[in-house]
Symmetry: C2
Subunit: 200 residues, 2 copies
C-alpha cells in the first residue's frame, strides 16, 4: 500500500520546498494528520490567505500585503537614502539588522546576459522615477558580490552617477568571525581594497 | 519591517511542522512566493483536498481516502494474519519492506496508565470483531519495544491467547548494521532471548 493519493500529493508538494527531502515531507504530512482534522485545513487556509493577500510594494518592490509596504509607509524612514537589492527577500535581511533607516528598492533580479536577463526586465525604470524629485542623495548598491551582482552594481553606478547622486557599494571583505586561513583570494583582494584607517 | 502578516502566519505554521526551524520555515514561505502567485495556492488546495478526503480505514484503522484502505480492499492479502501496530503511520513502515502479505490493525495508540490511556480508548473492540469469524490464525504484535509498547503487547497477548489464536511478537535484537560495542544491555538481552539455530 502506498499513501492514499491525496496524502501522497501533500508529501510531493512538501518535497518541492527547499531543504525538504522525501522522509521529512512524509513526516510533515503525517504530523498534520495526527494533529487532528483541523491542522491540515488550517495550514491550507493560512497559505490561501497569504497567496491572495501578499504581493509586492508598488513603490520599492518589497513584500507587502497592501499597495505600499511598511517601510515606504513609514514617515520616519529617511527618504534621502535608497538601498538597492536584487530580491524582495534581501530587504528582510537588512531589516533584521535594524540599523538601516533609509528606504529600499528591490530590482526583482540581476542583469545577467548569460541567463538572458536585461535591464528592461528589472525594476530600473521604477528606480529612476523615484530619483526624479531630487530628494534622494545616496543610492547604496547592495547586490550580492557575485558575477551578476557585481556586473549589475557596476551597470547601475554608470547609470546613476551622471544624475549627480552619490552611488556607494556595500563593504566587501572578511565576514565577522572568519579566519584568514580559509578566505579566498578574491575576498582578500576586496578586503584590502576596502581597508579603512583605524582610530580617526 | 517584519514580514507582511499573512506571510508571517505561513512561516509560523511551517515552523510547527516537525524538523522545521525558524530559518527553514521562512525559506520555505519565500520560496513559494518566488515560485509565482500559483505555487502557494496550489499547496493550499492540495492540503485542503487531503484534509477533506483522507481519514482512517474503518476496518483496520490505516490511512485511507475511502471507507476501506487499499490493503483491506486487496483480495490477494492473506486474511489469516493480522499485524497489530500502534499508529496508522506504522503501517506505512511495514508496507515499505514489501514483504508482509497479511493485513493490518492500527490501535490508534498504546495502553499507557501514566498518560491515562486505557484499552477502551484504543481500537481493541474492532480487533476482536475481526477475529470473530475464526478466519484469522495469527496475530503479530508489532508495537514499539518501549515501556508502553511492551505493556500493550503483553496485555493483548493475554487477551487473545484464550481465543485459540497464535499470538507472536516481532523479533527484537540488534538492528542490521549495528555494533555490539554500542548496543545497550536490554537490546542484548532480547537478542539472546531471540537467538535461533543457524543453518537448519
Amino acid at each position: 500500500m502506498k499513501l492514499p493519493a491525496p496524502l501522497e500529493a501533500v508529501v510531493e508538494s512538501f518535497q518541492r520546498l527547499p531543504g525538504v527531502g522525501a522522509k521529512s515531507a512524509q513526516r510533515m504530512a503525517l504530523h498534520l494528520l495526527k494533529e487532528g482534522p483541523g491542522a491540515m485545513d488550517h495550514l491550507a487556509e493560512v497559505l490561501h490567505h497569504a497567496a491572495t493577500r501578499v504581493g509586492f510594494c508598488e513603490e520599492c518592490g518589497a513584500f507587502s500585503d497592501g499597495p505600499r509596504c511598511a517601510v515606504c509607509e513609514d514617515p520616519r524612514r529617511d527618504p534621502k537614502v535608497i538601498l538597492v537589492v536584487a530580491e524582495a527577500s534581501n530587504v528582510l535581511s537588512f531589516e533584521r539588522t535594524g540599523h538601516f533607516r533609509g528606504r529600499y528598492h528591490a530590482l526583482g533580479g540581476l542583469v545577467s546576459p548569460l541567463r538572458g536577463v536585461g535591464p528592461d526586465q528589472l525594476r530600473i525604470r521604477e528606480l529612476l522615477r523615484r530619483l526624479e524629485d531630487g530628494q534622494v542623495e545616496e543610492v547604496v548598491l547592495a547586490t550580492n558580490p557575485t558575477l551578476d551582482g557585481e556586473a549589475t552594481a557596476a551597470w547601475l553606478a554608470r547609470l546613476l552617477e551622471p544624475l549627480g547622486i552619490r552611488v556607494t557599494r556595500i563593504g566587501l571583505g572578511l565576514p565577522v568571525g572568519a579566519d584568514l586561513e580559509y578566505a579566498d583570494e578574491l575576498t582578500l583582494d576586496r578586503a584590502l581594497e576596502g581597508r579603512r584607517p583605524l582610530g580617526g
